[in-house]
Symmetry: C2
Subunit: 436 residues, 2 copies
């Protein structure tokens, strides 16, 4: 994992050291902590997380608490509903219908049905079950450092989990559409050709294509928003091959890109299925698949769907509060405005720091790519890690992403202000000055 | 699905009819409602659910709200924590450690590690990923009407989802261990032989066995608790073949069987992995895999695990409140005492109703099997359905289970009182009298 704590290293207090030992004993070896010196977090409020010593950290990383930690409207909605009812979809209930209608109203008309789950992994797992039933195929095309989740089915098309997690025999990867690394004016054509080649290879092996699935901001591939519209040809290719296009909006969705509620809008297309997760309940476990009704017809008639907690009344109340808050407080517009300010600030830093080879973003999701030098563009993961860990020492939280772990992953809550962005930039400037 | 509403039938109010239409439009065809005439539920409290007309229903079915709907201790824990912090396992946090230690303390010493997810499906999915990494095998043995969840991987070993959901080529089913249907004194030997034959068949196809997984109360196979200890031989068989035994405690766990916190205790054995779900947070989405540390060693070192919402602070607070309440209020003992009273009452009904071929149970989980007559023992799903729907009309909620949908599934909250059980029995007696 990028930016993972290495046990035995770091500068931990005796108390934190003891907790790390308890973790290893009772949670086992599969869990990872972030940063060279992990954080012991006890409280969150707005754009800040607080550690056990009461120190505040400006959170420019966690997109789950997308409205800010413990947003009052979401907290109130959960507190109210949890005392009234939290039961399941086998009874008729108002909230799931009210929310489902309000949610689908934020999508293009064709995407009018929604099914609920609890995690982004479950949403992607379900989307693939539906895609397979609809297309009769099994083949899946993803980018080469994609992350879509951790169920067995989804881990098999999440190459970013690393070589210890096998890709499925029905999975093909294509190079991430990196404008900075050779895409140039031909990026769309190249990406389309790569997807077509992957489809041809599936067919050559007797595997019928089911889906192309991408995070529409390519978060784990290094944050790749540009140029607008480059996805259209690849989507056309998978559809021509009898497959569907699944937009994974777990990262870019719910207004983060600033210009639209959903990341796929940037590419001026309408997906067949859309998966939602992390920010949907601002921390409450809720996720969904939104789709064209005809896609689910076959699956729905034959294979019933029931997710015990998915779409329960408390989840729907939390999710409704999130959607209302985004709309009421103009948070999409805020993401656009403050995101532009943040991006400009980081680009200004790049003017003085040639180690920053490329700075790109959409709304409140910025990627800043470290290179050894601007001619070779060789990825510099070491410097990226130094900056992330120095910023953490200075009280600002981000992490890294991309195949080479050399891209800063800057993803603050949608309530970020220009003052927050200025503070971020000041700390980043200091970290750049103090690291090498 | 057993006991599913058939659209266009039932005796719905115009309001409920309109909501059913909204469901079909916005949630699509995969969702199912329960009962001939579905319930429009608006509120839950203790052992009661309330419909839109204010009518109370005695809930003898929902094991998610295992402490009763909206239990004050759980509601309070969630209300407190949701205003403090709800972030993830990549930071050090006290609650996950406190809960993990308290939870594993309820297991035999060997089962000392726990990993968190959000749903029982995710827990079973993760358990199988771990089992495969540990054993190097892929083969899975399950009972022939087992239900373990809905991810693609888990649905492939959940035959109760029906013929539209394919079993995996690496999955073998064995007949459910039905004492009532021919098991007799040889049940343990027969079940062991069936599992051995399934393992041999996997091997004959070049598939290395990974796991035997069973719900230790065989809920979807018709509630099969007896005779105690019958699982030991089958567990020995899978271990001899290099596989592991996974106890799915999503149904029987957290004290429901009355005699122990975990259903596997009834069989005097220690599983390699145990999966937990539904009642773990009394409605809050949280689940877990508990295991022997050596089982996870390989998986944990190579394939990191991160579940965004799994083990977050609110989930742990809810789960801690559940565990504390079970222990503080003696709910396991209550399940044992009231469960025995309930079972005796239903057995007394069977004395006058030969349609009840067998009544069995453990703690507050009772199965009552309808047959055409006691000689042929031919399953009578029609009568079971009539009784379930008549009881719903009379204000008591249960459903049916088993391969033939002929077994009443009676699974009240652990706070059920003897008075609740008497009311249940009175209503069941009336439903038996009034149906045929």
């Amino acid at each position: 994992m990028p930016n993972a704590f290495v046990p035995g290293q770091g500068n931990l207090s005796p108390e934190a050291e003891a907790m790390v030992e308890r973790r290893a004993r009772v949670l086992g070896p599969a869990y990872r902590l972030m940063y060279e010196t992990p954080l012991h977090i006890v409280r969150g409020e707005g754009v800040f997380l607080y550690d056990a010593d009461g120190r505040a950290y400006l959170d420019a990383y966690n997109n789950v608490a997308s409205l800010g930690h413990c947003h009052p409207s979401v907290v109130e909605a959960i507190r109210d509903q949890v005392g009234i009812l939290a039961t399941n979809t086998r009874y008729i209930h108002d909230l799931i219908l009210d929310y489902a209608e309000r949610l689908t109203a934020t999508f293009p008309d064709a995407l009018s049905q929604v099914m609920f789950a609890c995690t982004g992994s479950e949403a992607n797992d379900l989307a693939m079950r539906i895609a397979r039933a609809f297309t009769g195929g099994t083949g899946i095309v993803v980018t080469d450092n994609a992350y879509h989740g951790i169920t067995e089915s989804v881990a098999a098309f999440s190459p970013s989990l690393g070589p210890a997690v096998d890709l499925g025999p029905h999975v093909r990867t294509v190079p991430a559409p990196e404008l900075y690394r050779g895409g140039g004016a031909d990026l769309a054509a190249r990406f389309t050709a790569d997807v077509e080649a992957a489809i041809a290879d599936l067919r050559r092996h007797g595997i019928r294509p089911a889906a192309l699935i991408v995070d529409t901001l390519f978060s784990s591939d290094g944050v790749l928003p540009d140029p607008k519209g480059f996805l259209a040809g690849a989507v056309e290719a998978i559809r021509s091959a009898g497959g569907v296009f699944v937009a994974d909006e777990v990262q870019p969705g719910f207004g983060r890109t600033g210009e639209a509620m959903w990341g796929f809008a940037r590419h001026a297309l309408v997906p067949d299925l859309v998966t939602l997760g992390k920010p949907m309940g601002n921390g409450h476990p809720v996720s969904a698949v939104v789709m064209r009704p005809e896609v689910c017809d076959e699956f729905g008639r034959k294979a019933r769907y029931f997710n015990t907690f998915g779409g329960n009344a408390v989840s729907c109340a939390a999710a409704m509060a999130v959607l209302r808050t985004i709309e009421r407080d103009g948070l999409m517009e805020n993401a656009e405005r403050v995101g532009r300010h943040l991006l400009e600030g980081i680009r200004a830093l790049a003017d003085h720091h040639p180690c920053l080879g490329d700075v790109r973003g959409a709304g409140l999701f910025v990627g800043a790519e470290f290179v050894a030098d601007r001619e070779s563009r060789i990825p510099d993961r070491h410097r990226a890690s130094r900056v992330v860990n120095r910023m953490r020492e200075l009280g600002v939280l981000i992490s890294v992403t991309g195949r080479s772990h050399n891209v800063l992953k800057i993803r603050p809550p949608l309530i970020f202000t220009e003052a927050n962005a200025d503070r971020f930039n000041a700390v980043m400037a200091q970290a750049l000055d103090e690291t090498r």
